[in-house]
């Protein structure tokens, strides 16, 4: 069984939306994290509906050295809807954990992702001093930004950004074939939950592809 400290060092908490529009970005995000040797952790991993969501988030924040917060969807889904504030709230919990937590938590590292450069300055100016990268809602840019950040904070040799992007394309091709053979409809594929996607990614990473 893995030691708690090892799990902490290799875990990365993802704070992002889970709607259909964001799914291509989430899939590329999960892929690049896996390929760079870390374990992505999401609040949706836990299926215990008896637990209050904020408790799950608190435990995730405390058990992951790394975190990625995508605040690009800090907006209403449809005109007239209310904007969503879960992402900045969870970002606040993570930063608070780093500032007020025990010694190992002070070494936590986080990347904040946005859609456009400097948009956050208008809506969340308190984080202006943090490292914030824009992905422009483009999965390839997201892969490159996350890869470059992980190269810096983990100080390990990683595959190049273009190699990772090619491999992500190959992975999706093979995944599409698998799901077709498992008789998944197009609708089933579109509704693939992150936790199920992670299952295929784990098998792929384990050398089954």
């Amino acid at each position: 069984m893995a030691r708690e400290a090892d799990v902490f060092e290799s875990s990365l908490f993802i704070n992002c939306p889970f709607d259909g529009d964001y799914l291509p970005l989430l899939h590329s995000l999960l892929f690049v994290i896996f390929e760079c040797g870390l374990q992505p952790r999401l609040a949706s991993d836990e299926v215990d509906s008896g637990r209050v969501r904020v408790e799950k988030i608190r435990d995730l924040v405390r058990s992951c050295r790394y975190s990625i917060h995508d605040i690009s969807r800090m907006e209403a889904l449809e005109p007239g809807d209310e904007p969503r504030f879960n992402m900045p709230f969870e970002l606040g919990l993570d930063l608070g954990c780093r500032y007020y937590g025990a010694s190992r938590l002070r070494n936590k590292q986080c990347l904040i992702l946005e859609k456009e450069p400097y948009r956050y300055q208008r809506v969340l100016s308190d984080i202006s001093g943090n490292d914030i990268r824009a992905h422009g809602s483009d999965p390839e840019t997201l892969v490159l930004e996350v890869r470059n950040w992980l190269r810096t904070v983990t100080d390990t040799i990683l595959p190049s950004g273009s190699d990772l992007w090619n491999r992500f394309n190959y992975f999706l091709e093979e995944l599409a074939l698998i799901l077709e053979r498992l008789r998944y409809s197009e609708r089933d594929v579109q509704a693939l939950e992150p936790v199920e996607y992670l299952g295929y990614l784990r098998d792929w990473k384990a050398g089954l592809f």
Binding site: N166, F168, N169, L172, E173, I178, L182, E196, Y200, L208
Partner: protein, 94 residues
Amino acid sequence: MRFTEAERAEIGALLRKAAAEGKNNIHVISSRGRWRVVRRGARRARRVFLDKDQAVAYGREFARRLQSELVVHTRNADVETRESFSGPAAARGL
């Protein structure tokens, strides 16, 4: 979701088969506003195009010569189309 051992074995077998079948495939991949034609496993792109249709036409010819498959991806990396040029009919140019 947690897979059972039997499901895991079935998926593993499918994955190995897919990998073996796809190792010579030609891919058209979006990259930084351009379209790269890449043979699976190659370090560098065969050709890079500004226009997707040109990339697909070039990739199709390349796949035909290799009696392989052409896999065209979307900007999000999903599979858009797949064309096979393997098998006896494809080898005869049919």
